[in-house]
Subunit: 147 residues, 2 copies
DNA sequence: AATCCGAATGTTATAATATCACGCCTCAAA
DNA sequence: TTTGAGGCGTGATATTATAACATTCGGATT
């Protein structure tokens, strides 16, 4: 991600929060910036390290609170199978398509693609009502194919 | 799960391992039994507790080793979003359908249904090769609907 | 201005999840 | 008998996440 598009993404995120009546505070903005800067899914404790060049602040609750806020705001997603976090790459409402994002994660280079609208399976058990779906695919992206 | 069907499941699991040239040792069998007995997804440290009525054995590696074995053998699946484990409810090869199981987990009663047959996304990024998929749906099963 | 309130953050501690490293035992092949 | 691999016991440690309480800060109310 270029410096320029990063700035734009942060501005857009700030606007998104304001629309929702919430605040993208400095800590939250910094955490989002770190997530967006990262090449791939990023770990909470790596964020924690990155947050404390100064001696003081930055204990685990700081980063987990920021991540919770960003996830609720739809700006960041958790990769459950990795215990790691990725920046959201799009702007529309996540609930529009009946649930969660679908993530494609390259195990070689860490690239993450987010898709939506997953034609969610017609083979659900009878009468099962889906509230939340976790869909994560791991493999190789087009750039990382051996062949 | 009835005592009877539990016994049958354990016998089948043992046969499955033997076919693969592996051994369902007492520890592994006991862990599988505990997972199968549970009402829903079960945590590693709950298994650990259940394993040590006697003072001695049962440290974390014991249960994690058994779980790794059982997962590799396809007898148990991990629910990534819960850091918990469920018994596999079927016998055929998990790779037949192009990858992982699809889990439907009732947030109210813990019931887990496992389905297969690759809901596989037609909207994968171009050139992306999927090696492993994690698909977990959370919601209410037919028995737990308020309405 | 003074007060109050609630959200956000700081801070300490601890819980919950998972792995490493080493050594011993057993069983079977050579 | 020697040897080697797999399985397991054990102690320590790494990693991930939350609980609980104090403090700060900005805006609303008086
Ligand atoms: Zn998203
Ligand atoms: Zn790649
Ligand atoms: Zn299965
Ligand atoms: Zn239910």
């Amino acid at each position: 991600m270029t410096t320029d598009s990063l700035t734009k993404a942060l501005d857009a995120a700030e606007a998104h929060c304001v629309e929702r009546g919430e605040k993208l505070t400095p800590v939250r903005k910094r955490v989002l910036e770190l997530v967006l800067e990262a090449d791939g899914p990023v770990k909470a404790y790596d964020l924690l390290e990155a947050l404390k060049p100064g001696p003081g602040s930055a204990k685990p609750p700081t980063v987990y609170r920021a991540l919770d806020f960003l996830m609720t705001a739809g700006l960041v997603h958790k990769v459950e199978a990795l215990n790691a976090f990725v920046g959201c790459s799009h702007t529309h409402d996540h609930d529009e398509h009946g649930g969660g994002a679908e993530l494609f994660i390259c195990s070689d280079c860490g690239a993450v693609e987010e898709r939506h609208g997953a034609p969610l399976p017609m083979n659900a058990p009878a009468g099962f009502t889906i509230q939340r779906s976790v869909v994560e695919h791991f493999g190789q992206c087009a750039n990382c194919h051996p062949g």
